[in-house]
Amino acid sequence: MLRAWMLSVICIPLAASAQYPSFELGGLARGVSDVGFLTAEDTLARDVNVESHAIYDLALRGKITSKAEIYTELRLGTNLALFDTSASYAQVRRVLLSGQLTPRWNYEIGDIDVVGSPFTIWNSNAEGAVRESALFSQWRKLQNYENFSESNSWRLRGAKFEGNWLMKNGGQLKTSNFVSRVQASDEVLRPDVVFMGSTLSWEKNNVLAALSGQNFASLGKTVPDGVGRHVANLGGEVKWKGEEWLWHAEFGGSTATTLGLDGLPNAPNSPTEGGYWNVETQFDFGASWTASASARSVSDTYMAPAAQTKRLLFDAAPSSFAQIGNGAWNRPLSQGDLLTAPYVPRGSRPWNRAIQRELMTFDPRYGTANPYGMATPNRRGLEMELEHGKAEEPWSVIARLFALQDLTPEGTLTRRNYVGYAIAGHFDLAALWMGNRSLNMHGGMQSQRAQRPETVLDPVDLTSSVFDFGVDWAVGENLQIGYGAKRISSQGLEYIAVRDINFEVTGFDRTTLDVTDMLHACGVIWKINNRTELTTQWQKWFLRDALQGHDGSISKVLFLFQSKF
């Protein structure tokens, strides 16, 4: 049956158009093999780890009527481990019904993508990359694709309605509304959780003003004796864009049901409230230079579940070689683990998809200035950015500088200061000579430091840095050799605030770090045609925790075949 269906899929034309209905077929085929090796010194743990899978994602877009369009992504997969059908599976990756209800109203029902601002709804990028090598970034793209995190939007299940009106004075009024069921009730203890939001914006000429609100609500009536809980946000923004200048201001607040240790609302309940503001300006100058500066303040009890939920689960264990050093080191997640986390249907992996109210665990090796993005509670400060060029140009550079501070001191009467920078760019050496064999160098460095002087305590002084470097050399028309290096390091001491479900600081974890992860990759990318490529690469990870006296290394041989159609 499956074979017949596959044959029919292959044999039908990739696009068949008619007025209605019309269908388009697209998709992705991918084969992956990941073979890991421990060093010879490690004799207790498993020395070889093999993961593999092949998937076929078939995307079907069908325009049924002028009011309804369906989009589905059907996945067929196998783990390539057994020569029978028990290791194969089929699942639906995405279902979306959309269309135009009226000339002014559009709708989407199913797996919708929702995004707001970095303070309201934002799926922040994963830590540990600054313009990384193509050998690493192709695996990061793969993971982002697998975990529905290809942009800063959250993939939710629900409905979205958008309206658009042209006003007589030339202005435009838009509204976007969504509702999503984030958690289903088990009708005993776990209540239904819904997340809903609405935005109303007015735009005329070069001015935009908008108001938005969201509510992350736990519906108490969906469990016996349950009580409702809410985290409600209300915000506004104003934007003005001139020929060279852009000015943007955003502000808002949250009010949340204060919960007790048992997770139930306190009675009588005084809500937990917080707020933020952000002002930024951007201007273009010279040929293609852009500079921007911003200032912001976020209070310690500002809650925005969809902006503060992290993309990664840093308390997860590595999927392969979780213990190295002859079983003596329960090592934490490294960037290599995040990039090569195996895909297992309904299996656990260190990538998160669920929005939650509580602040998630973060890894201090990536710094403590912005663990929850721009919506990190209890921060204020300045950021500046300077950018030149795009990826398709011979060279580009982007530099960022920030200086932040605790809005309210934590645990002492002195604020922590955070300073950091990031610089990244690329340069095509082939621009220096005639010919079409590109030799592209790219990389970046970011570093941040948290400091607080102390008289009695050990002072806070934590430095974290990420370094990326890559070279891609087109040795033939379709053949590219690449090398990538990535270094993550962190040294120093920090007192990390322990926050409860109401974001109240209840304690501190004293953390001392002296860790360095160094990853090397070299490989060959064969572009079989415009849509198909095969990559073989070898990676070597050197992991070290100097304070605990642990180190170890892991080798990986990775094969990736991808074809988009």
């Binding site: 310690d300 300045l382 305590l457 007192y495 501190f508």
Partner: protein, 331 residues
């Protein structure tokens, strides 16, 4: 809207404005969370580290040692006890809410503390490595820890239930009494054999299935103290069933389960604790499989065999002391 079409302010004005804006916010008075100095400040002792047995502890009389100390921080601590002649150790770890108050009933992590032994007591704080306290306590007698499980043999018994059995490769197999080097009490069993065999004698311990009611493979532990001075020595532990219920253990009719424990040849006592789930069906020789599973209601006997890790010809031997079954956790 004419103001929106005018030229924007200069960059310096913007920067000044942004810097000014930085100090506009909802900062709170005081600080967030508990005072860090009360958690991670300098450790000061408000009460000295001491115990309540300055004249030594008589475990035989049911005494216990109470260690106490007071300090100004809620810190993590480790109290390590080390026997100066036995080398036995025991440790308490915890999070002291500005005080330490623990009772020691004579427990030990590896081998027993000996009688008439000084025990050094070291109180350390992982987050304050420079702050530690030392004390010592004298142990007059060893504690009776048999209430932790089902004691099968300590070799101190006046009416022992165990027996010892020797064979053609056995050179000596005896209970050594009035021994100062016993891991517990003053007696232990010593067995030595020579040759290319793998059975140089055994300690036989009868078991009553009634004593094992309610236990399971995963939560039943055999704990045995072993010592050897012979390279390659091992103890094969055999668990015999009376599978056919005839009241006898008969080779070829009843099931046997086995596990082998290698013993370091360093002449030092070591405690080995194994769950019964480690036992495997023994089909060597004339042994048979009835249902392949350990049936607790048919357990009849447990043997600690003097053996070797391989089959080479040589001299092998080991000492056995304090064999006890525990339930839910190792001894």
């Amino acid at each position: 809207m004419s103001f929106l079409q005018s030229n924007p302010p200069r960059i310096g004005t913007w920067t000044l404005g942004l810097v000014f804006m930085c100090f506009v916010g909802c900062a709170k008075e005081g600080s967030l969370g508990p005072d860090l100095e009360s958690l991670y400040g300098d450790l000061e002792f408000t009460e000295s580290f001491s115990h309540n047995m300055p004249n030594g502890v008589h475990f035989e009389q049911g005494d216990a040692v109470r260690f106490s100390c007071g300090f100004n921080l809620p810190v993590a601590y480790t109290l390590s006890l080390t026997g100066q002649t036995s080398g036995a150790t025991y440790a308490f770890q915890g999070q002291g809410n500005r005080e330490l108050d623990v009772l020691w009933f004579g427990g030990c992590d590896n081998v027993f503390f000996r009688k008439n032994e000084w025990v050094h007591c070291l109180l350390e704080f992982p987050d304050h490595p420079d702050d530690f306290k030392l004390d010592s306590v004298f142990v007059w007698e060893q504690p009776d820890l048999s209430n932790r499980g089902l004691l099968l043999a300590s070799f101190e018994e006046t009416n022992p239930i165990f027996s010892i059995s020797s064979g053609e490769f056995t050179e000596s197999l005896d209970v050594v009494t009035e021994a100062l080097d016993a891991v517990e009490g003053g007696a232990y069993m010593r067995g030595v054999g020579a040759g290319a065999g793998s059975w140089f004698g055994a300690l036989r311990l009868p078991l009553d299935p009634q004593d094992l009611l309610g236990s399971s493979l995963g939560n039943t532990y055999l704990n045995v103290h072993l010592r050897s001075d012979y390279e390659g020595s091992a103890s094969v532990i055999k668990l015999f069933e009376d599978s056919n219920g005839d009241g006898l253990v008969t080779s070829g009719e009843d099931e046997v389960f086995t596990t082998k424990l290698a013993v370091n040849a360093d002449n030092t006592w070591q405690r080995i604790s194994i769950p019964w789930s480690d036992f495997e069906l023994d089909l060597s020789g004339n042994n048979v499989s009835v249902n392949g599973q350990i049936d607790f209601d048919q357990i009849s006997r447990l043997d600690c065999t003097v053996s070797q890790t391989g089959t080479a010809s040589g001299t092998y031997g080991l000492d056995v002391d304090y064999v006890i079954l525990t339930f839910d956790q190792p001894f």
